[in-house]
């Protein structure tokens, strides 16, 4: 475990190591012998066609789905062989932003964010309240949303509150499942910047499942591509754009991609 600052560079520390991961439902293996490394302090964008198993991998890493084969090590600990106490200590060190927020609907925003803090730390009420405001303002919300219920929030606000909750106990890794889906381009852009800022300030490792090409362009350090149950390639955006793989070509250089309109982008 390194200190909080990002330790990119040579000999980068691997925080998530997936080897030979096979996950399936019924007779069908969604992920087949998948290998993936996530390095400390990076933002990894994880892409793939709809239904290719991106969310399945995310849910497998965080332990919601069982493995058929293979190992997943987080912070060097094999999550399937770990004891209950070890697993809980790992779970304290990651935060998850689910696709639809998964805020607790019967708790207010304040209680949602305080929930993990209360569970793990014993802090005075005053500090808890200050932290809620701090977290909310860090994710770009005003303090006055804290007494609202999740059902009273807009889609973008829900995502932000969910991110604040995911970051509540200052995790080292955050998993984001399509963080910008359902947001308008301005909101999505702000969210990307936010993730970038938080990653720089907190030294987070970010594992982001996304379809948003803009997110991939602006914040991701590295992109991993999932197809046929495997990571077919992982690298920087430039490497993706240079690739001649047909799927990558149509994904990154198709009509909807920014690369197809480079003049517009720079003007």
């Amino acid at each position: 475990m390194a200190a909080n600052g990002a330790t990119n560079g040579k000999g980068r520390e691997v925080v998530i190591e997936a080897r030979g991961v096979t996950v399936g439902f019924g007779d069908y293996n969604v992920l087949n012998q998948l290998d993936l490394d996530v390095y400390r302090g990076e933002i990894l964008g994880f892409v793939g066609g709809s239904g290719s198993g991106k969310s399945v991998l995310l849910r497998t890493i965080i332990g919601l789905l069982p493995l058929r084969e293979g190992t997943i090590k987080v912070f060097g600990i094999d999550t399937r062989a770990a004891s209950g106490a070890e697993l809980r200590s790992i779970e304290r060190r990651w935060g998850v932003l689910f696709q639809h927020g998964a805020l607790f609907s019967s708790l207010t925003v304040r209680e949602n964010i305080q929930f993990p803090i209360r569970e793990y730390l014993h802090l005075p009420e005053k500090m808890l309240d200050e932290l809620v405001v701090t977290k909310l303002e860090m994710v770009g919300l005003k303090a006055d949303v804290r007494d609202k219920f999740p059902s009273e929030l807009s889609g973008g606000m829900t995502k932000r509150v969910a991110l604040a909750r995911a970051l509540a106990i200052d995790p080292e890794i955050v998993f984001l499942d399509e963080p910008t889906s359902g947001l308008d381009p301005i909101g999505a852009g702000e969210f990307d910047n936010l993730i970038g800022t938080l990653q720089r300030t907190l030294g987070l490792t970010v594992f982001m499942v996304t379809h948003d090409l803009d997110s991939l362009h602006t914040v991701c350090d590295r992109i991993a591509v999932l197809a046929d149950g495997k990571v077919i390639t992982a690298g920087t955006m430039d490497q993706m754009l240079a690739s001649e793989h047909p799927w990558l070509k149509s994904y990154f250089r198709g009509k909807r991609s920014r690369a197809s309109a480079p003049t517009l982008r720079t003007s």
Partner: protein, 390 residues
Amino acid sequence: MVKYGQDAVGRGVNGETFLQSKASGDRLELAAGGAWVARHAAAIEREIDARAAEAGAARAVRIDISAIERLDTFGAWLIERLTRTFRAQGIEPSLAGQSENYRALLAEMQGVNLDEATPRALPNPLRRGLIAIGKTIDTVIESFLSNASMIGAITATTGRVLLNPSRMRFTAMVHHLDNVGWRAVPIILLITFLIGCIIAQQGIFHFRKFGADVYVVDMVGILVLREIGVLIVAIMVAGRSGSAYTAELGSMKMREEVDALRTMGFDPVEVLVMPRIVALLIGVPILTFIGSMAALYGGGLVCWLYGGIDPDIFLSRLKESITIDHFKVGMIKAPFMALIIGVVACVQGFAVKGSAESLGMQTTASVVESIFLVIVLDGLFAIFFASIGM
């Protein structure tokens, strides 16, 4: 774990001091060290408060944070709070030894939490009590009005369906009838049978003391046909199907399915409520009949095996003691009970708001309210039938 500052600080996690102070004249030197992270936040906060209180006469404050090994938002916020505490006392503290890694995080903290937290004020107990009473009255009136408006909507829809019978959703109705009627038969049979047995047993046991065994048959017959059969069935259906209706409609409301129906030009009352209510209107009287028969059977069985009243005697006594009126009273009440259960369940279902808790609350309210109203209605019917001599 420790990369920076192990030597500079040289303290273990246990018994660690996070903030050391050194006063020289009117200068206060604070040296922060150790891991300023979430895990130690409570301890750090205590030290901060203690040091800030000691500041006293200091005119200038310097906070050296170069020895901090690790910093997260919790620690960064506490540093920011410490600076703000001094600032509030009119001293501008200087922050020394910010490492490059933490600069951005500390800068971020300077922009947050600027508004003074407004303490949540609770009204005094008397006012709170009055507010609670007012809210309850409001809820009661509201629930009465929404029940009335649902009955109105159902009446209007019934009119439309009668004019144009093809609008009746027959398949949906049969599906609900299967759920609330057919599938309820075994449990209704069992419960009413047992209730019949218990009434007969108690009757025999107590009537025997003054030699009036045979009047048990009168009691079982009248009680079961007029009251017990329909009440037990209504209560069972409210608990079994009313709650299901509320939960179904409530979760449809939560997922905006009801809104989707409306935007497609469908009337939720016609599509969702009508089939359910019609299913209850058909199902509950049938269940009442089946239930009453099972209770009489149970009563007869106990009279024979426990009270020594032969089935022949039981039947002839039953024929003498009950009239068709008793049977009618029970059966007339059944559809009204069904209507109340259905209306309350649907109103409560549509009252569900966004949260999981509200779904639970409305389902509870649905069952409690429909059972309550069923019993109130039963009382009103008792007065009514007594006054018309039935």
